[in-house]
């Protein structure tokens, strides 16, 4: 949170990048990448969400308190994913 006024040009540039990345990620879905589809799709999604969070949600300009909240959310998401998937990915009685 800040009193700083961000020029709309910043938002337009971020928006242009988001649209370009969307066209890219949809475009590559027509190329047979096999298992790499998920990797490419997630990599582009992470870049896009960083753009939204840093610029549209002002995390780049916000206080450490706000960063702490979002960091805590991501930290617990990490625990949730890591422990759940560590279980599912290491079972010897594969379900399929």
């Amino acid at each position: 949170m800040t009193d700083r006024i961000i020029p709309p040009t910043t938002y337009y540039n971020v928006f242009a990048a988001l649209i370009a990345l969307t066209l890219l990620t949809v475009g590559v879905s027509f190329i047979d990448l096999g298992a790499m589809h998920t990797v490419v799709g997630l990599a582009i999604a992470i870049v896009k969400s960083l753009l939204v969070v840093l610029f549209f949600m002002h995390l780049l300009y916000s206080s450490n308190r706000s960063r702490l909240a979002i960091g805590a959310g991501l930290f617990w998401l990490g625990i949730l994913l890591a422990l759940t998937l560590a279980d599912y990915f290491t079972r010897h009685w594969w379900a399929y």
Partner: protein, 228 residues
Amino acid sequence: MPVSPAATAHQFDNLEQQREAATFGMWVFLATEILIFGALFAGYSAYRAWYSHHFEAASSKLNILIGGINTVVLLTSSLTMALSVHYAHIGRQRALVWCLVLTALLGTLFMVFKAIEYYTDYLDNLMPPVAFDPAEWRSLPSPADPGRVQLFLVFYYVMTGLHAVHLTVGIGIMVWLIVRANAGRFGPERYHPVEVAGLYWHFVDVVWIFLLPLLYLIGTHSLSDLHF
């Protein structure tokens, strides 16, 4: 922009503290929202890893045309939301109201497209149990288990459905903001309600940014599948 006499609520020392408290509260709420969607993403990931082939086969049948258009619609609504916060901040009331109206309309347009998409899913036999043909999946060149295909589709409906519920709440908040903005309740002294609603709106956008690749893009699409 007239400064509201009660710009600072009595429990706050000053405007800065009030804004800080409001945005911090929204970030804490969003942290819990990450975990709500996170549980679905975790479940999805486990089964996506176990049943990769079946998930990819089903994913490549989803309507990528409407999914892609909707992504652009939602990203555009995030732009108008960011501009709303900007215009509230610099006190341009007319521009603020119009950007909020655009945001609400784009959110509604997303919902209309989503409804059309669910209908095309129904026509494409992608809606178990009402419209689903197990034989279609068994007869693929590389056969997929219909039960595991259905599991993917359940994730698809629950995740896009929960996202749609969030977006509906967001549109409701926009309508409330439009009424307040039209009455001149926001300005450089007091724009945190717009900022906080914006954080929520952008978060819903971020969820969709991850739903797009995980639901629509894990398989290879064919250009001949593009249809409304």
